[in-house]
């Protein structure tokens, strides 16, 4: 069908033009609208996480003020600059593809890819640090690892943390056997309203663990760890994690257009793939622009 059309005089039909479009302009516009619609679904996906953040920050401001101090602002700021620079090179790549400048396209896309690697590298340093410090999501939040090198009661801390996996009742009875000093009564009192508030079983144990360690005078060295301080790290890991997955996907897409660009497949009349990958990459940058102040720059 396209053969017969392309043989018509005055009706040029480039290879990249799908047969159901009248011309490259129409195809480009349709593709771009489709890409923007996809980006709105991405924004809505992330908005659910931003909503999670907003509701919990409003309800537990002390958790955010306390926990954000564990994040390294310098690493966050460097990553922000890295992503902004990658956005510049990506936008430059789109420009290069529009101009049909293959050499610049390859260079800018390679730079973008390099920035993506740098971003994930810095991110992995941050993740590893938090893993070692025990600064993890609510059910695994155990910052006592901080103090292990200071010696005393390491074994005790371990014992107190272990019941986190078992049901509440079992954890409570374990305390009863361990030390009977009126503290046990307190523990039981803590649990009742927590249940009424529909805090999950891990959240309840978390409450117990922190309270327990607080009474040992152990957590005092850390500064006051508010209840559910791990909540911040739940939010941190899910939001930066989903963002990181998007960076990984973006790296795959950039590699794809880098190969196609190196083959010289793009021109002033056909650069939609570079354009769309660029839009995707900028959305990844856009999400980080909001994540950075919300997670790292809490006053």
């Amino acid at each position: 069908m396209s053969d017969t059309e392309s043989t018509k005089p005055g009706h040029e039909h480039p290879a990249h033009l799908a047969h159901h479009f009248d011309n490259p302009q129409q195809q480009y516009n349709a593709g771009k609208l489709g890409m923007w619609l996809f980006l709105t679904t991405e924004i809505l996906l992330f908005s659910a996480l931003f909503c999670w953040y907003a509701v919990y920050r409003a309800a537990h401001p002390e958790v955010f003020i306390y926990a954000h101090k564990f994040l390294d602002v310098n690493l966050g700021a460097i990553n922000t600059i890295v992503l902004l620079f990658s956005s510049l090179t990506m936008a430059w790549a789109v420009r290069a593809s529009q101009m049909g400048d293959r050499r610049t396209l390859v260079i800018t896309l390679s730079l973008t890819l390099l920035c993506a690697f740098a971003f994930l590298g810095i991110k992995s340093i941050e993740y590893r640090h938090k893993w070692h410090e025990g600064l993890l999501w609510v059910s695994r939040y155990d910052p006592q690892h901080h103090d292990t090198h200071e010696g005393h009661e390491t074994a005790h801390t371990q014992a107190a943390t272990t019941p986190a996996a078992v049901p509440v009742v079992a954890a409570a009875s374990a305390t009863t056997q361990r030390d009977a000093e009126g503290r046990i009564v307190e523990t039981l009192v803590i649990k009742e309203p927590a249940k009424d508030l529909h805090v999950g079983p891990t959240g309840v144990v978390e409450t117990w663990t922190e309270k327990h360690e607080m009474t040992q005078g152990h957590a005092a060295k850390m500064g006051e760890s508010p209840r559910l301080a791990g909540l911040f790290f739940s939010i941190y890991f899910v939001m930066t994690g989903l963002h990181g997955v998007h960076v990984l996907v973006g790296m795959g897409l950039i590699t794809w257009i880098l190969i196609r660009g190196a083959r010289g497949e793009f021109s002033a009349q056909y650069f939609a793939p570079v354009d769309s990958v660029g839009l995707y990459w900028h959305i990844v940058d856009l999400v980080w622009i909001f994540l950075f102040p919300l997670l790292y720059l809490i006053h």
């Binding site: 302009q25 659910a48 856009l286 909001f290 919300l294």
Partner: protein, 121 residues
């Protein structure tokens, strides 16, 4: 073939190098400002608002220039702004709703942020 405007290279607007670098430098400057402003105490609310306004300006720069939305067909702008409207409705209503339940949670809180049992009737 698409008809070509004299000032465009075919299908879409081409961003000049000067604009690209200018926008990038503006974004870096705003990042620097937002980090610096955190060290100044305006109170928690104002600091948050300032940080969000700066992030918003950065976002607008990225969307309008890096993403070419300013030079795009207007309908794409309608799609994008429409999406943002729903994001605002979503987050605002969720926050209003959770704030409405806050009074029934507050009796369980102690000054240390720990949950305690409410006074038995």
């Amino acid at each position: 073939m698409a008809t070509q405007n004299a000032d465009s290279h075919g299908l879409a607007h081409v961003m000049s190098k000067r604009m690209l670098i200018g926008i990038f430098l503006a974004l870096v400057a705003l990042t620097w400002i937002t980090v610096g402003v955190t060290k100044v105490d305006f109170g928690p609310t104002v600091n948050l608002v300032v940080a969000m306004v700066i992030a918003g300006i950065k976002g607008i720069l990225v969307v309008l220039f890096f993403m070419h939305l300013l030079y795009d067909r207007p309908f794409n702008m309608v799609v994008f702004v429409g999406c943002l409207v729903f994001v605002v409705i979503f987050i605002t209503l969720a926050m209003v709703d959770s704030a409405a339940y806050q009074p029934s949670i507050d009796p369980y809180k102690t000054p240390e942020g720990l949950i305690k049992a409410p006074a038995q009737p």
